[in-house]
Symmetry: C2
Subunit: 547 residues, 2 copies
């Protein structure tokens, strides 16, 4: 494949490893762990992998050599910058342990394991992908590894390839499944270890031991680059309000981080909207107020950041969606026969009065979206709502009313943008290149130490790489019981934006100033070769969390 | 203002100047010039500035010193990366000529001149903006300088500030107006020179003497960065067709350049669509064919690049729009009274049969757009049509038909994106930083040489900066007569994509391969500090044009 000049130059970058991973090491056990909640239920479901201790690798003299072994790797779920470096770190790690070791990649995600679709990842192949973005080395997919027959089918190929350990690179769901798989293989004494790696640009897989999921750093820097460019345009033309939606359905970390990097005039944080029990009208009024205030000082322009999941964070709409899903499931056959033109009135008739009133208050484009478009599971497709356009439109209507009442004298023209795919496959920043390589290399050491049901953990990442701490954390430690499709299930608890956390508090301290003034920051594109203060900074979120 | 680490580091960059501009210089006159067409008419309209010779600056021994003078500068039209460097080059140039010289900036575009809204650009201010994107140092605007009373009003403030020369940084329209202004001031012996600078990310202001307009390099690199990221995602997930619309209403240079940088599966070039007299259905069929072909080889994914102006390049639609505008202008009062629901049928009744048939064939969302939304001049708003969504939708419909007929067996899921504001205010690439600084510095030398009606010209830009050639080109040379609002006007001829030019021919040679295979290139973000092969490359367009 033809490569860009940057790809070629960047291929030569040697990611840095924490000191402990540079030579021989010893796995030092810490205290036994407990799940973050529901300890009794989680323990019952994971009798073989519950309560294991923290692990920390410490350097020792000597050499690390193991018996020959084969390792498998899976990329699961949405892309995140640095996945290729996890694989190259893992590859280099197992080759260091024994040059005869082999790495197999399962193709297009977990389905590759179940369908026995795989390839050997040789040095030649791995070298093509070092420090690059994307998951294209083996592809990714969203098949969920959840069922016994999938596990058994997977075991066939693992045995056939003599694979001793499987590394699953994924988000909270994929790591939950990795843990269930580890437990199952241990229970049946299959002789296959399972190790997880924390991936997601959304940043919602983190806790005391996993400081950040990989890809968050790079993706938020790409989004901040283009947001900064839009801000500079906004501040040059002085005629538009730009509404920018950012990926992140379940948590608003991406939006918060981009706000900390760029200082937009208005930033919506889903977790706050939920905690304050705000309505859609509250949110619209909040924006309109800020627009009107700037207009009084002649500033008919600004930038608004909106998290993708905003709509679902609004408690009243969350309730409405839940009832909609239940009602449509109960009346599916009936509803399918209703003509499209009558679907909205059918919905209104079958909802509780409270939710019917909310449904009625939505703009037609949204209620139509909710009534007409459903995903393969029959659920309404909240993610298809173009929140950034919806808000711009509703704010415009409110300001038009205010204008009639003499409460607003400015102009309000809008542009809207949605950034997601632009950042998920960017070439990893130095931080993500180092972090991912370390996570992968570290995973090989967890395998060598005979561990299963662990997640690769690299900590102290707000410091220089030399000071990073490598080790493992039992995945069960992150679990609690949650309702999924009507059933209580053990799952890794999602990390939402904490309203008493430093990043959010910093934002709250400054947002009034950012709204009133034009205090934009223009981060520019990720730099790989320049001075350290430009190239080697972690996210603001990570820095503030560890201050 | 708080600055990002990159802004701070980048502020220290000293843009490079062509050799001829580094010391004292001499303006060498070339041949007298002719306008590119309609010589007689253009000459009649520009009796004082027509036919002037090319100028080329050559280094001489000695020092350049001039009498004290003041200079004014205007940023006109849409933002383009490097505008601040034109200003800093101009500033450094006039200060070198005489440290007592002063630079005044007119605020928010040409209206600043007419409304006497200005500020002095001191060293302290200029230093804050070196090598940064945006036009926020003085803002920009779209007021057209066309009328005598504007010129006279402007002259008042130019005289009051003792300004000897005005530099207008703009696109083809703004430079046309700069030329009219130069002619007028010369005709009335106002004692004010006018110099133009070629700006536009669209790349459509170029000719034998102006090799590229500034900003094109940086903007296309930013777009190529995010397109490359989307491609990598596309090739990892292997499940979407991404439709990407790019800025450029009048010409498809941006789309072509991004295609050369990234190798998308399908690229539409408006100029080709027009030359081949294609219909919207032809374009849709062309895309659907490529999608269906990839599907036969299991590739249900790809990337399509679409220029913003595509719709207007389709001859049948162009005719329809022309008739629509005329018809609506003729029936305005009548039409305004028609209820929104009846506007489409009103339009159908009042169009010629041929255009009514075209209008009827458009998707409802588009015909509604054309009938309902009009700009302040009463024209239909073609630019509001979301071409990328429209094409995705129409291709989907066609493929669904083909599926029924057994002609298509793949899947077709789409995502769409529009990139414009993301690139217009990016921090200039090394190329644009140097080119813009040189254009600005060079403008100061044209002023010192007493010239008016010239555009600042820096050539040989596909070579290293040392070999760049600096000089001036009479703006009248670029002109021809075109119909504008029913009247023949002298205007700078827009440079469209040439179907016999090297960049297009290179694209045509490779596009079949790019469509069939997955040959994506991932350029990554603009680098400012790395190796020259990464940081200092001009665009593919420029390179191919000068091969």
């Amino acid at each position: 494949m033809e490569k860009s000049a940057l790809q070629i130059a960047r291929a030569a970058y040697q990611p840095k490893l924490p000191l402990a991973l540079r030579g021989a090491l010893n796995a030092v056990e810490g205290e036994p762990t407990q799940s973050v909640a529901d300890q009794e239920e989680v323990e019952k479901l994971f009798p073989n992998t519950y309560g294991m201790p923290y692990l920390r690798f410490e350097p020792v003299d000597g050499e690390m050599k193991t018996q020959q072994m084969n390792v498998g790797v899976i990329l699961s779920g949405g892309q995140a910058p640095g996945g290729h470096n996890v694989i190259s770190g893992l590859f280099d790690g197992i080759k260091k342990l024994n040059p005869a070791n082999k790495l197999y990649g399962f193709i297009l995600g977990p389905s590759g394991l179940v369908e026995h679709n795989y390839m050997e990842l040789t040095a030649e192949i791995v070298d093509e992908y070092r420090n690059t973005g994307g998951f294209d080395i083996i592809g990714s997919g969203r098949t969920k590894l959840e069922k016994k027959d999938q596990f058994d089918k997977g075991l066939e190929i693992l045995k056939a390839l003599d694979i001793k350990a499987l590394v699953i690179i994924g988000g909270d769901d994929s790591n939950t499944n990795a843990c269930v798989l580890a437990e199952y293989y241990k229970a049946i004494d299959a002789g296959v270890q399972v190790i997880g790696c924390p991936k997601t640009i959304d940043g919602d897989l983190k806790n005391s031991e996993i400081e950040t999921s990989f890809g968050f750093d790079t993706a938020t820097k790409v989004y901040s680059e283009v947001i900064g460019n839009i801000m500079r345009d906004c501040n040059s033309a002085k005629k538009y309000w730009h509404f920018v939606k950012l990926m992140g359905r379940s948590a608003s970390h991406v939006t918060l981080e981009c706000a900390l990097q760029t200082h937009p005039n208005i930033t919506l944080i889903g977790e706050e909207v939920e905690a304050k029990n705000q309505t859609l009208d509250d949110v619209v009024t909040y924006i309109a107020d800020a627009v009107a205030d700037r207009a009084t000082r002649g500033m008919n322009y600004g930038v608004v950041l909106v998290p993708e999941g905003l709509i679902e964070f609004i408690p009243a709409i969350k309730k409405l969606i839940a009832e909609l899903n239940d009602m449509l499931a109960a009346n599916q056959a009936d509803f399918d026969l209703v003509a499209d033109d009558n679907k909205i009135s059918y919905v209104l008739k079958h909802l509780s009065d409270e939710n019917a009133a909310i449904f009625k208050s939505l703009p037609l484009s949204v209620s139509r979206q909710l009534a007409l478009e459903r995903d393969p599971h029959g659920n309404v497709q909240v993610s298809l709502i173009e929140t950034e356009q919806l808000l711009a439109e509703m704010v415009g209507k409110k300001l038009a009313e205010w204008k009639k009442e003499g409460l607003f004298n400015g102009k309000f023209s809008t542009q809207h943008h949605f950034f997601g795919y632009e950042g998920r496959c960017a070439a990893p920043s130095n931080f993500d290149a180092d972090y991912c390589y370390s996570l992968g290399f570290n995973a090989s050491m967890l395998i060598a130490a005979g561990k299963t049901g662990y997640m690769s953990s690299v900590k102290n990442t707000s410091k220089p790489v030399d000071e990073w701490i490598a080790g493992g954390i039992p995945i069960t430690m992150m679990m609690n019981m949650e309702k999924r499709n009507g059933e209580m299930k053990p799952v890794i608890r999602k990390a939402l934006v904490e309203l008493d956390g430093n990043p959010y508090k910093y934002f709250v301290c400054h947002r009034t100033k950012w709204a009133r003034e034009t205090d934009f920051i223009y981060p520019g594109p990720i730099q790989y070769f320049g001075p350290a203060e430009v190239c080697d900074q972690p996210t603001k979120t990570l820095t503030l969390e560890h201050e």
